[in-house]
């Protein structure tokens, strides 16, 4: 399944409806539905959201309807939404970038229904897109990787060179460099979102270059299995992937969507929800993105370092892309004392200094 779910930013586009000054109010009892583009238990992105859905259902004592395998096609999604609305559902949560346009149209057609979309691009009076500042957690993962690496060379697999992926890659490298300034971060783009066989093979390619930690920014765990087989360290993504590398696992960058969903849906039910004009977008402080428990090979010292950095990021004292930030080609992206603005995050198309690899679109 190749979706562009994470390919474009929540809240980047200015096509949004004007946001009403007053809060959104439900006109009937809350009925929530989640819509997935493939199976909910996909071992990655959907599974992380579905975990949030389960927590939401329990926390707010809701009976949530789930539709799986609704393709990212306007006609198919709209048919599903229409059906839910007819049956009285008034809170609909989409889970992929590919739903953006059709959901936005449905939001205009059904102003009494609240719409949410993970990694979507549109927002309005009754619609909010949401995504996480994943690079903050990747920064911590980078610190863990560098502190554990003995070869001073770590590797990472990524999908396509789009902003939300590139900030993970650069965040990882920046975190590694914060611990070991000279460390090499080797990055390979697989040019697919979903190809477990290839991801295992790419992982081997990076290990053959001498890296002793492999991190994956993709959904399949096969990259970690390959690392485990070679006795290398492994870092997963989206859900805790320790099952694929029980010995070598260092940690995983995970989503806890319930940290967003539960309070947000409560607001909708309470009639206090005001959609964010540019979409909801938060990091470690919100808890939606975090590190999974550390693996057995991560030392106490490393855990302490990472915990300290995490506290600093949450307190706003540490910013992964604070200046001086140098791109690999030698240009200064952020001067000392400044931080990278959000709009530059979404369009990030460069490697930071210290990364080995080729960005497919060219730098």
């Amino acid at each position: 399944m190749t979706t562009l779910r994470a390919a474009l930013p929540a809240g980047l586009l200015a096509l949004s409806l004007p946001v009403a000054a007053s809060a959104f109010e439900l006109t009937s009892e809350p009925k929530v539905a989640f819509i997935y583009a493939s199976v909910a238990q996909d071992g990655g992105w959907n599974e992380a959201i579905d975990k949030g859905r389960a927590a939401l259902a329990e926390d707010l004592d809701l009976d949530i309807a789930v539709a799986e395998n609704i393709p990212e096609e306007a006609t198919r999604l709209r048919a599903a939404i229409d059906l839910y609305v007819q049956r009285g559902y008034n809170i609909i949560v989409g889970t992929t970038y590919g739903y953006s346009e059709a959901m936005f149209e449905a939001a205009q057609a059904y102003p009494h229904v609240a719409f949410f979309n993970a990694s979507g691009v549109h927002n309005g009076a009754n619609m909010e897109s949401f995504y996480a500042r994943t690079y903050e957690a990747w920064y911590l993962a980078g610190m863990t990787a560098a502190d554990t690496s003995e070869a001073d060379k770590i590797g990472m697999l990524a999908g396509f060179p789009v902003g939300v992926v590139n900030w993970d890659v650069n965040g990882f490298a920046r975190g590694a460099q914060a611990v070991k300034p000279g460390i090499d971060t080797t990055v390979v783009y697989t040019n697919s979102w979903w190809d477990p066989v290839k991801e295992g093979q790419v992982s081997e390619a990076i290990l053959d270059q001498g890296a002793d930690v492999i991190a994956t920014d993709l959904s399949a765990a096969s990259a970690l299995s390959a690392a485990e087989e070679r006795g290398a360290g492994a870092i997963g993504y989206q859900i805790d992937m320790s099952a694929a590398a029980p010995e070598g696992i260092l940690t995983s960058v995970v989503f806890n969507w319930e940290a967003y969903l539960t309070p947000r849906i409560q607001e909708v039910i309470d009639g206090t929800w005001q959609p964010e004009e540019w979409g909801w977008f938060a990091g470690l402080a919100s808890g939606v993105v975090d590190l999974a428990p550390f693996g057995p090979s991560v030392s106490e010292e490393t855990r302490a370092k990472v915990a300290e950095a995490k506290a600093q990021i949450i307190a706003g004292e540490l910013q992964p892309f604070a200046g001086p930030l140098m791109a690999r080609d030698g240009t200064e992206v952020v001067a000392e004392g400044d931080v990278l603005p959000d709009d530059a995050l979404w369009t990030m198309d460069f490697f930071v200094d210290g990364i080995t690899g080729t960005m497919p679109s060219g730098e």
Partner: protein, 306 residues
């Protein structure tokens, strides 16, 4: 540099073997005149069946065999459709792909992302511990696939049955007159393509990824269809084509990891551009044989004979 090449050669079979196995199947089917677009579906059922048996605790070789048989089972549906009921081959092939992907999605849905040990590498076997890395990293499916290649090449070129199969693909009416049971030969060739496709799929899950996930064939079946055209329907050339297609795929992440500045997207296009070039060249050489079996894709009905 030597290290780089050695490492590349070590992983090469992982890319080449599934392409080679599935393409030999397509080749057999198409040399018998049956256009075969099914490998994506055959490989999907093979990969899922192999993985499910491994997860159920069976021996990896049992799993490989079951994967092979599942591909054969799906090809029986295809064979019945195109050989017995004479359904249009392109449409039937596409339907089989959809069927294979659909079945695996439904049956395999509660088994995704569960890792299993799978087929051991030679270095992990009792007798292979001292093999050099280049050989030790391989598994027994590599020699098996080369053996199958040799067998199929011999079968097509030298055996009477192979001659009959080729005759059916070139001129089914003439073969029919000379006493060849056209339908039986075609059905046999289609079943072989299913078995080889299933085996290729089992390689992906049991020997390579050690996990099942929906959609894990990820387009390799379509690469196989192009590969057979590129190989001009010759068994040995399937090996060279699989080496080219798989080799390109294998070297690109390695060049990326080295930081070599090269156009990744152009590299990924290369095998397909070459396939198009071969097709164009073959059709430009007037009078020369294009290599395609003359009756490929045509439905043979005895009463149409003239």
């Amino acid at each position: 540099m030597m290290d780089f090449i050695l490492a590349w050669l070590t992983v090469l079979p992982g890319y080449v073997v599934p392409l080679l196995l599935a393409s030999l199947g397509v080749l057999l089917s198409e040399r018998a005149g049956i256009l075969n677009l099914c490998p994506e579906g055959f490989m999907a059922v093979g990969a899922m069946t192999g993985a499910l048996l491994c997860l159920a605790g069976h021996d990896p070789w049992t799993a490989v065999l079951a994967g092979t048989l599942s591909g054969l089972g799906l090809s029986l549906v295809f064979g019945l459709a195109v050989v017995v009921f004479r359904v249009e081959q392109t449409l039937a092939g596409l339907a089989i792909v959809a069927l294979g992907l659909g079945i695996t999605g439904v049956i395999g849905r509660s088994h995704v992302q569960k890792p299993f040990p799978g087929l051991p590498r030679l270095s992990e076997t009792a007798w292979g511990a001292d093999l050099p890395r280049l050989l030790g990293q391989q598994n027994m499916l590599l020699p098996l696939s080369l053996l199958l290649l040799a067998l199929i090449a011999w079968f097509l070129a030298r055996s009477p049955a192979g001659l009959r199969l080729r005759a059916v693909g070139e001129d089914p009416a003439a073969a029919d007159i000379s006493g060849v049971d056209v339908q039986r030969v075609q059905l046999g060739a289609v079943l072989a393509s299913g078995a080889l496709g299933g085996l290729a799929g089992a390689f992906l899950s049991v020997a390579s990824a050690h996990v099942w996930v929906e959609g894990m064939v990820a387009g390799r079946g379509w690469v196989v269809v192009a590969l057979v055209i590129f190989a001009r329907w010759r068994p040995l050339r399937c090996l060279w084509a699989a080496l080219l297609f798989g080799g390109t795929e294998a070297i690109m992440p390695r060049l990326q990891a080295l930081g070599v500045d090269f156009p990744v997207y152009l590299g990924a296009m290369l095998p397909y551009v070459l396939t198009l070039a071969v097709l164009a060249l073959a059709s430009m050489r007037r009078g020369a044989r294009s290599g395609a079996p003359a009756a490929l894709g045509l439905t043979y009905l005895r009463q149409d004979k003239h």
